[in-house]
Symmetry: none
Subunit: 213 residues, 4 copies
Amino acid sequence: MDVTITTGTGATDQDRKTPGRPRSARADEAIIEATLDLLASGTPVEALSIEAVAARAGVGKATIYRRWANKEQLIVDAVASIKGEAPAIVGTSVRDDLIALLRPIGQMRKNRFGMIMPCLLGELRRNPELARSYSKLTEPRRELLREVIRRGISTGELRADLDVEVAAAMLTAPLILQGMIAGNPALEGVDLPAKMVDLLLATPAGAAPPPAN
Amino acid sequence: MDVTITTGTGATDQDRKTPGRPRSARADEAIIEATLDLLASGTPVEALSIEAVAARAGVGKATIYRRWANKEQLIVDAVASIKGEAPAIVGTSVRDDLIALLRPIGQMRKNRFGMIMPCLLGELRRNPELARSYSKLTEPRRELLREVIRRGISTGELRADLDVEVAAAMLTAPLILQGMIAGNPALEGVDLPAKMVDLLLATPAGAAPPPAN
Amino acid sequence: MDVTITTGTGATDQDRKTPGRPRSARADEAIIEATLDLLASGTPVEALSIEAVAARAGVGKATIYRRWANKEQLIVDAVASIKGEAPAIVGTSVRDDLIALLRPIGQMRKNRFGMIMPCLLGELRRNPELARSYSKLTEPRRELLREVIRRGISTGELRADLDVEVAAAMLTAPLILQGMIAGNPALEGVDLPAKMVDLLLATPAGAAPPPAN
Amino acid sequence: MDVTITTGTGATDQDRKTPGRPRSARADEAIIEATLDLLASGTPVEALSIEAVAARAGVGKATIYRRWANKEQLIVDAVASIKGEAPAIVGTSVRDDLIALLRPIGQMRKNRFGMIMPCLLGELRRNPELARSYSKLTEPRRELLREVIRRGISTGELRADLDVEVAAAMLTAPLILQGMIAGNPALEGVDLPAKMVDLLLATPAGAAPPPAN
DNA sequence: CGTTAATCGAGACGGTACGTCCTGTCTTCGG
DNA sequence: CCGAAGACAGGACGTACCGTCTCGATTAACG
């Protein structure tokens, strides 16, 4: 077994042209599109069948299996393809920047990304490689967050004893949990991002602004 | 079709005894036991088949379907039945209590509860009733945590501007995410519970105690 | 008809008083009636389920199993209970008597007995005891037929070289086959009983009557 | 849902080749063979399960359901496939020919065809199309018989007032009944074919040949 | 410019599991 | 003890997908 499953990116390292008919790009698109369609239209991820994807894409099942080794990888690729939305832009105060960065996480529930992700968690748990590939996907946003935190520390806006990674986790995890999973009804009406950021400020919010700068 | 699926709680509405042979308690146990056995022995939740549970429990499939409408509810009931371990006990300082309370959450990864839960998230997301029943399961521990936080605020150990719910979320969510899902490699060696608790102390850990205030 | 439905346990006809509550005759009737109802209303014999009979009779399944060892015996008893119609009466000439005796056999197709019997053939084939009990059921009619044939031979109306059993078989079998099973379309409009009897007359029908008598 | 179940004849309406992988002829054979094996090895027809056929044939259940809409049609096709043995050949006297033609019918009891057929009668009764297809199967033998009878009438060996169809029915029906169903014990040792044929001879067997007539 | 070889759609293949139904047995209750 | 109700273990039903395979028909680039 020495199959080459190109999985999307398909960086054909070398110039060695494969003989025979090349793979149809239209099929790729149609498959991804069909997958997202089905997921968005309510199909639970675990109940998504390759058969249905093939039918909706107007494609033979083998055409899918030729590209993706299994259902999960297809779904991950499909999800990755929608993840391309631009992240938030940076503004004036560190507090505002953090809040702007965090807010969309809490609203995942409402978009199709939030509908799909929780169902992948089980698979992510079992398949570390997949988890890594997913984490690479979200890395840019996380890096952005870390940078803002670092800036906050250096400007004195945030507590000096902050560990950047720990702070990032404390800020994002509650939102992710709230966004993906059922969440705590006691937090329903609360402006969670602001409240959390305030807890990490060097000076309690509402108090005098940080000494200088 | 007017089936009664009793699912565990078995609230005998009234004293009216149901006619016919009563359901066997041994079957109940055998089914739950078989389910946990299979899950603990590596079967991915989504791949757990009623057929296999029935076979291992030495029970007809109908006996399972008579009690649980679907696989997910069976799994939730099964999981609920193992969750009964007593939570941590309270000690001396608020900081130590919090850490003692949080530490086991981060170690879920290693026990079978941590193996099972992530796979249920998708189902929890779609099925609010199920989510509620699950949340009732974890409520005692959450309440304990909230109490300790409240105590910390009143003694002045924790920041006065803490929202109890927000603080609880910030402390638990990172651990849950780290425990259930792959998590951040940058946090691998870190004593997350301690680091997080320290960030919510009124006075940075190691510094002088709060100035009366 | 003196049906003793005890089929199996049998021997209720003694004075030995059984202790406890006696079996309800209403249940017996209801079960038989329900069985015939279901069969007559199109249910294929092989698809008749004890469950359905019990439900329609308003009786527990165990009540049926207590009386009949299995489905086939229940059906046979049920069929036996409708078989009690009086056989034909004997008249003037042997030819007319035979025809009168044979005609109803050909019309079985139209009554519910004809609907039910063919489905029992398979069972009769495998279960000789059952076959014997069925044959006992039809014996009176067959004996009547043999008697008429014997009379015909002695009066000279029928061929002298007739074997009574063989003649009876030749007269009844085509009608049974035609009545129970699909039958030959070429025989659809034909007055089969008359034609067959004529072939066994000593003198061809329409020719001069037998010499003496 | 617009499935085509080809069931044997497979009249390819047009030359238009169906796309996709063609159906495997080996599977066809294996299924039929397994069906006959099971039936011949004692399985009552009504108890024959598709599951068992599939298992013995080494075939998926779907492969069977793709070809036959239900169990009965599968069985009929299976039976049809064994019925192909050449019928008897014609000889010298009409009497001998008839007897040679009839004898195998009475011996059906002993071969697997005789084991299987009675169980199909119920189905034949309910399903006229099926009955027709079965009757087509036996037609060649019946036609042969009719021909011999016609020859017997024209040569004067058989009674002149015979109706061919009626005579055929009288000769075959008793044998079929005796062969398929339990039958009359009084006929057990009798050479039924010979006895019956003799009754239709113009001159009683052993007597002088017909007087020219 | 015809080979050659991998692609395409379609759909059959051997399987597994589904959730329903029925079997024949058992276990309870109330009469 | 009977009758009803209904749970029990078992097993077949017919369906839906799985992941693989085999078709005839396209496509390119290579020779």
